[in-house]
C-alpha cells in the first residue's frame, strides 16, 4: 500500500476508532501503536521521496517534496514520542482525578485527528486545503487545550479559539486574494490554488494583489506561529492544556503554521520585488524575539515560560527565513528541527516534574534532581540546549543564523544577541533553581516515560556535533527550494 495514504489513513482511522471504542486499558497502547504506524509510514514516505524525488497524490491535491517530507518525518516522530510520553502521564492525571474516562477518550481521538490535520496540512498541494487543515488543527487543539475544563483552561481555549479563528480568517482572505491573482494567470480552473502550478507562474502573479495577499497570510498564519503581537493566545494555551498537548503545540503546530508561511513566501518572492516578504518576516521575527525575551523574566508558571521561549524561537526562525538564501534557510530548517525536538523534550520533563510536585508554579518546584535525577537532568540539559549552549544542536543553528545575520544584516545582530542574552538570564536562573537544591516533595511510585526526553536530547546533541551527509543534502535541497 502507498506509504502516503497509510500515513494519512492511520491517524484518521485510529482517531475514529478511539472515539468509538472509548477509554479502555489498551487505548493508550493503541494510541502509541497508531503513532508508531504513522511514523513508520512517514519514514517509508521519506525514503521514497529521498530515493525517487517529489511526487503527487490524490491527483494533484497532495504533493510531497523534500521540503515538506522533512516536516512530515519530524511531525510523525515527535507525534510518536509524545504519544509514548502521554501514556504514563495521562494515567497519573486520571489517578489524580483531573481527568475522567470520557475526557481521556476525547484526548486520544483528538490527538490522532490532530496528527491527521497536521500531516494533511503539510502534504497538501492545495493552499485552500492547507487552510482547511490548519483550521481543523485549531479546532482539535481547542478541545485538547480545554481538556481539564477548569476555568483557566476554558479561558485559554476560548482565547485560543477566537484569536486563532480570527487570525486564520485573515489567512483565508489572503488565500482568496492569492486565488484572485492566480486566476488571472491560470484561469478559473481548480488548479489555481495548487502550489505546484502557482510556483510555475509565480513571476507573473500581480504584485499589488500578492503584496496584500502575503500581508493577510502572514498576519493570519503568523497568529498561529505566535509572532508578536499576535501571540497572546500562545502562552495561555500552552500553560493550561495537558503537557503532551503543550509539547505538540510547541513542537509541531507552530512549525506547521510556519511551514504554511514559507510556502506562501516562495510565491510572494516570485511576484514581488526582492526582499519584500523577507523584510516583513525579518521585522516580525526580530520584534517577536525581543518581546518574548523580555516576557520570560516575569514568568511564574513553568509551562508558560517555555511557551514564551517557543515564541522567541519562532521569532528567530522567522527572522532566519526572512533573511533567505540557502544558508539562512538551512539554518532556519535546522533550527525548527532542533526547537521541535528540544522543546518537546523539555515539555516532557516539565510534565513529569509538575506531576511530581503537583504544581506548575516554579517557586514551588525545587530540587528535581533529588526527586528524580533523570527528570532533573533532562530538564536541565534540555533547557541548556534550548538556550543555545553547545554542544547541542540549537547552538549549531543559532550559530549559522547569527553568522549569516552578521554578514548580511549586521544591524540586527545586537538585537538578536540582546534577546538571546536576556532569554538566557531569565530562563536559566529559574530552571536552575527548580532542578538544583533541596526538595520537600515525596518520590511518587509512578515510573515516568523518560526515554523520549533523552531520545530527543540525544538526537539534538548528535546534530550539534555531526549532521549526517544525507540529512545535510536533504536540508540543502529543501532550503534551495525556499529560495
Amino acid at each position: 500500500m502507498d506509504f502516503f495514504v497509510l500515513m494519512l489513513a492511520i491517524p484518521l482511522v485510529s482517531g475514529a476508532l478511539l472515539t468509538i471504542v472509548g477509554e479502555r486499558d489498551w487505548a493508550p497502547n493503541l494510541n502509541v501503536v497508531a503513532s508508531l504506524g504513522t511514523f513508520l509510514a512517514a519514514v517509508g514516505l521519506t525514503g521514497e521521496i529521498v530515493a525517487n524525488g517529489p511526487r503527487f497524490a490524490f491527483g494533484e491535491q497532495f504533493f510531497i517534496d523534500s521540503l515538506n517530507v522533512f516536516f512530515v518525518a519530524l511531525t510523525a516522530f515527535v507525534g510518536l514520542t509524545t504519544s509514548i510520553f502521554s501514556g504514563p502521564y495521562m494515567k497519573i492525571e486520571r489517578d489524580r482525578g483531573r481527568l475522567t474516562k470520557p475526557r481521556l477518550r476525547l484526548y486520544k481521538s483528538m490527538y490522532q485527528l490532530f496528527m491527521f490535520t497536521m500531516l494533511a496540512a503539510l502534504t497538501t498541494n492545495n493552499l485552500g486545503i492547507l487552510w482547511v487543515a490548519m483550521e481543523a488543527a485549531t479546532l482539535t487543539t481547542v478541545l485538547l487545550v480545554s481538556l481539564y475544563r477548569t476555568p483557566a483552561s476554558l479561558e485559554a481555549a476560548w482565547k485560543y479559539f477566537i484569536l486563532c479563528g480570527v487570525g486564520i480568517a485573515q489567512a483565508l482572505f489572503g488565500t482568496v486574494l492569492l486565488y484572485f491573482a492566480a486566476e488571472r494567470v491560470l484561469g478559473a480552473t481548480g488548479n489555481a490554488l495548487l502550489w505546484t502550478h502557482l510556483v510555475d507562474v509565480k513571476s507573473q502573479l500581480e504584485p499589488t494583489i500578492m503584496a496584500l495577499s502575503f500581508i493577510f497570510l502572514l498576519v493570519g498564519y503568523g497568529t498561529k506561529v505566535g509572532l508578536a503581537p499576535l501571540h497572546n493566545w500562545l502562552p495561555d494555551a500552552h500553560a493550561e492544556g495537558p503537557t503532551p498537548v503543550s509539547a505538540v503545540l510547541s513542537g509541531l503546530l507552530l512549525n506547521v503554521a510556519l511551514y504554511a508561511i514559507l510556502r506562501c513566501k516562495v510565491l510572494a518572492d516570485g511576484a514581488l520585488p526582492e526582499g519584500y516578504a523577507g523584510n516583513l518576516m525579518i521585522g516580525f521575527g526580530l520584534f517577536t524575539l525581543l518581546v518574548a525575551a523580555f516576557f520570560l523574566s516575569r514568568q511564574k508558571d513553568v509551562k508558560r515560560m517555555f511557551a514564551y521561549s517557543s515564541i522567541e524561537h519562532m521569532g528567530l526562525i522567522t527572522f532566519a527565513f526572512g533573511m533567505g538564501g540557502p544558508v539562512a534557510n538551512f539554518a532556519g530548517l535546522l533550527h525548527m528541527t532542533m526547537h521541535s525536538l528540544t522543546k518537546s523534550a523539555i515539555f516532557f520533563a516539565v510534565g513529569h516534574a509538575t506531576q511530581k510536585t503537583e504544581t506548575q508554579l516554579m517557586e514551588n518546584i525545587r530540587g528535581l534532581i533529588k526527586i528524580n535525577p533523570l527528570i532533573g537532568w533532562g530538564l536541565m540539559l534540555g533547557t541548556l540546549a534550548i538556550l543555545g549552549m553547545p554542544p547541542f544542536g540549537v547552538f549549531a543553528s543559532e550559530f549559522m543564523i547569527l553568522t549569516h545575520a552578521m554578514k548580511h544584516y549586521p544591524w540586527a545582530t545586537p538585537i538578536l544577541l540582546l534577546a538571546l542574552g536576556v532569554a538566557f538570564a531569565s530562563i536559566f536562573g529559574k530552571v536552575q533553581a527548580m532542578v538544583f537544591g533541596e526538595t520537600t516533595a515525596r518520590r511518587l511510585p509512578h515510573a515516568p516515560a523518560i526515554m523520549p526526553v533523552f531520545l530527543h536530547l540525544g538526537i539534538v546533541l548528535m546534530l550539534g556535533l555531526y549532521i549526517p551527509p544525507y540529512l545535510t543534502r536533504w536540508f540543502h535541497e529543501a532550503s534551495r527550494m525556499l529560495g
Binding site: V132, I162, E240
Partner: protein
C-alpha cells in the same frame, strides 16, 4: 465608470452593499436577538449575491455555494444561535466596550481604509463585480471591530461569523468562487467550529456563571 454595467453586476453590487449595511447595523445593534436576526439577513444577502453570480457565470459550483450558504448561514447557524441564546438565558442588551457612535465613526474610517486598500485590486479586476472585494474587506474589518468592542462571548462569535460572511463574499462574488473542495472544507470547519463553540458556551457558563468575557481575564502576565 463604464456607461453600461450589466444588471447582474448591479445586483451583486447591491447585495454587497446590503451586506455592508447589515454589518454596520450589527455593529450598532445592542440586542442579542436582533443581532442574530441581522446575521441571518446578512447570510441571506450573501446567498442571493452568490446566486446571482452563479446565474451570470453559469458555474455549477457557485449554485452549490449558494445552497451551502443558505443552509449554513441562514438556517443552521442562526438556529443554533437562537437556541443558545434561549438556553443560556441571555437577556438584556449587548454591552459594548466603546459607545456605539464612536464605534460607528471608527467603522466608517475602516471602510475608507478597506476601499483604499482594495482600490488597486479593483482596477485590475476583470470580473463584473470589481467593487465587491473592497466591500468584503470592509465587512471583515467591521466584524473585527465588533469582536473587539463586544463583551459577551456570544456576540463575539456572531462577529466572527460575520467575518466569515465577508470572506465568503470575497470568495464567491469577487472571484466567482474558490474550488469546490475548499469551499466544502471551509463550510465544514465553520460548522464544526460553531458546534464546538456551542458546547463551549455551556462549559463557560458552568464555570463562570456568565458569558461575559470580562470574567475571562485571569490569564495574564502583567
Amino acid at each position: 465608470m463604464t456607461p453600461s454595467i450589466p444588471l447582474s453586476a448591479q445586483l451583486i453590487n447591491l447585495f454587497a452593499a446590503v451586506i455592508l449595511l447589515l454589518a454596520f447595523a450589527m455593529l450598532a445593534q445592542r440586542r442579542m436577538h436582533s443581532l442574530v436576526n441581522l446575521f441571518a439577513l446578512q447570510g441571506l444577502a450573501l446567498c442571493l449575491a452568490t446566486l446571482v453570480a452563479a446565474v451570470t457565470t453559469g458555474q455549477v459550483h457557485l449554485y452549490f455555494s449558494a445552497g451551502l450558504t443558505l443552509l449554513l448561514k441562514v438556517v443552521a447557524l442562526p438556529w443554533i444561535l437562537y437556541r443558545l441564546v434561549r438556553q443560556l438565558n441571555i437577556k438584556g442588551d449587548v454591552e459594548a466596550l466603546i459607545n456605539i457612535p464612536t464605534t460607528m465613526l471608527v467603522g466608517i474610517g475602516l471602510v475608507m481604509v478597506a476601499f483604499n486598500v482594495a482600490l488597486p485590486i479593483s482596477e485590475l479586476s476583470h470580473t463584473i463585480t470589481r467593487g465587491t472585494l473592497g466591500i468584503a474587506l470592509a465587512v471583515i474589518m467591521l466584524a473585527f471591530l465588533m469582536m473587539i468592542t463586544r463583551q459577551k462571548a456570544i456576540s463575539q462569535v456572531v462577529g466572527f461569523l460575520s467575518m466569515e460572511n465577508g470572506l465568503f463574499l470575497a470568495a464567491t462574488s469577487a472571484t466567482y468562487g474558490m474550488p469546490m473542495v475548499v469551499e466544502l472544507g471551509i463550510a465544514l470547519d465553520v460548522l464544526v467550529g460553531m458546534i464546538i463553540l456551542g458546547v463551549f458556551f455551556f462549559q463557560i457558563r458552568d464555570q463562570f456563571d456568565s458569558l461575559d468575557i470580562r470574567h475571562m481575564e485571569k490569564l495574564k502576565d502583567s
